[in-house]
């Protein structure tokens, strides 16, 4: 495999050439000012890690890569979806510190406590609640971008397939998370959702029994949904986002369909 040339360093990161008569300034001489000492310490730490892990080529491979002409704001929808997921993960972790999956009334009470009493609880819960809708909107916009730009075609089919699995998992997150506030809307929406699963022939009845942990909405249904919502699916989503990003980096970004391949300039001999 041919070795790619190292990408050029941005100007700001290049060491400034030493001026005549100037003493230490980060290009070999001992650092003098506190700022230079601090910068050197940071560089030392990064070097120490890099010497043991060799991570920097991988990071260069991931971050400094060629992109085609004509890419535009639509290409940021995937990253936007990922940041919506990160928002869900971070706010979800802190909501889990207050939430109690207790079907006898503790769940509703703990959500009421988060919303009404906990410091910034209303904000964090709203970020999680509205972020869920934002993530679903963004994932569909991202999917539409990939579809209409034809970016799912060879060799990126597997990226598309993983993306579809991520879409399904995101919808499953929405479904399982909807029950957790445990108010009337959550309860009946979940009853309806589980029964929709149950209409699948042959496996439907078993699927809805699995979701409910029994023939009726029972004592462990809520904790089951909670475990699926905060442990099972987030792990799968994080792993698949990793695979998705690897494939994107490996295969490169596709050009928009209106960009034509540059034609070879034909050399002609002009005779006079």
């Amino acid at each position: 495999m041919p070795k790619l040339p190292a990408p050029p360093l941005p100007k700001a990161l290049k060491p400034r050439p030493k001026r005549p008569g100037e003493n230490g300034n980060g290009n070999g001489d001992a650092p003098t000012t506190p700022l230079e000492v601090a910068i050197d310490a940071g560089v030392d730490v990064v070097d120490w890690i890099d010497e043991r892990t060799s991570l920097s080529p991988g990071i260069r491979w991931l971050l400094f890569r060629k992109v085609p002409k004509g890419i535009n704001w639509f290409y940021t929808l995937g990253s936007a979806t990922m940041f919506a997921f990160l928002n869900q993960a971070v706010t979800g972790v802190f909501l889990a510190m207050f939430y109690r999956p207790d079907a006898t009334g503790g769940a509703y009470e703990s959500v009421r406590y988060i919303t009404d009493d906990a410091f910034l609880g209303q904000l964090v819960r709203a970020m999680h609640k509205w972020g869920a809708s934002v993530m679903i909107i963004l994932i569909f916009l991202h999917m539409a971008r990939v579809f209409f730009f034809g970016a799912y075609k060879y060799p990126r089919e597997l990226t598309w397939i993983i993306g579809v699995v991520l879409l399904i998992l995101t919808l499953a997150m929405g479904f399982t998370g909807y029950l957790l506030p445990f108010d009337q809307r959550s309860y009946w929406a979940t009853i309806v959702g589980v029964n929709i699963n149950g209409t699948g022939p042959f496996i439907g009845p078993y699927l809805s029994d699995f979701l409910r942990a029994g023939p009726e909405f029972g004592a462990t249904t809520l904790s089951r949904f909670y475990a699926i919502h905060m442990l099972l699916i987030p792990g799968l989503i994080a792993a698949l986002i990793g695979a998705h990003l690897y494939l994107i980096t490996k295969l490169g970004i596709s050009a928009p369909p209106w960009i034509k391949a540059e034609e070879e300039v034909e050399m002609r001999e002009e005779r006079v």
């Binding site: 009334g105 009946w188 309806v192 029964n195 009845p205 078993y206 699995f210």
Partner: protein, 231 residues
């Protein structure tokens, strides 16, 4: 003429006996190499270890599909509470121990031979309808003025007997077994069962699962259904 005597190692490797392949320490009649043996044993041990925690965890998650849920007969009042001309509402407990979330509503009336054509037996002297809409499980409400059950979610309508009168429901309203306790004289309500459009009894299914035609085969009964004697 001198023949080449260079040993063809690839040909020698074709023999299934390790002794033929001149492996150091080979036994007479040995066919499995140590490398292959170690490979199989290590991967097998890995599989056993993964199964040792994977299978119990899977069984634990799937266990509720197979466990039989016990049911109680719940007394809902004396027979005089339930006329045969209209429904009386009773709140019953479907899942004990989880408070309001485990409660449900039954609409109860006495059997009226003039309109109830299904065969009478010991479990249907009183007709108890589940409030679960058979479209997707929302709670239906009995509107006495129209003598209809109406679902608020997607417009399912049932007639006085609980048969589908309109909208998306796929089968009549589910029913509960009822009996009259001879020692207390109270009407008692038992487990739920499902009916098809001819009011044949089936073990309780979920809403949205039709029981007419091939429906009963497409949506098999769950393993944990409680079966009443003589029903």
């Amino acid at each position: 003429m001198i023949e080449a005597t260079v040993e063809d190692r690839h040909k020698a490797g074709k023999s299934k006996y390790t002794t033929d392949r001149q492996m150091p320490g080979a036994f007479e009649g040995e066919t499995v190499t140590r490398r292959r043996f170690m490979n199989v044993v290590t991967q097998g041990a890995g599989l056993v270890a993964a199964g040792a925690f994977g299978l119990p965890a899977l069984g634990f998650a799937l266990g509720p599909l197979f466990s039989r849920v016990p049911f109680d007969w719940q007394a809902i009042g004396p027979a005089s509470d339930f006329p045969d001309s209209t429904y009386t509402v009773r709140v019953i407990t479907i899942v004990p121990g989880i408070g309001e979330a485990g409660k449900s509503i039954a609409y109860v009336r006495a059997r009226n031979p003039a309109i109830d054509t299904e065969k009478e037996d010991q479990y249907n002297h009183f007709v108890a309808l589940s409030s679960r809409c058979m479209h997707l499980g929302c709670p239906v409400r009995f509107v006495a003025a129209a003598s209809r059950f109406i679902c608020p979610c997607h417009g399912g309508v049932y007639d006085f007997r609980g048969m589908v009168a309109g909208g998306p429901p796929v089968r009549p309203l589910d029913r509960f077994y009822t009996r009259v306790n001879s020692s207390t004289g109270l009407v008692e309500i038992g487990p739920r069962y499902s009916v098809n459009s001819e009011l044949q009894r089936f073990s309780a299914r979920d809403p949205g699962q039709p029981l007419d035609g091939i429906g009963q085969y497409l949506y098999p009964a769950r393993f944990d259904t409680s079966v009443l004697p003589g029903s």
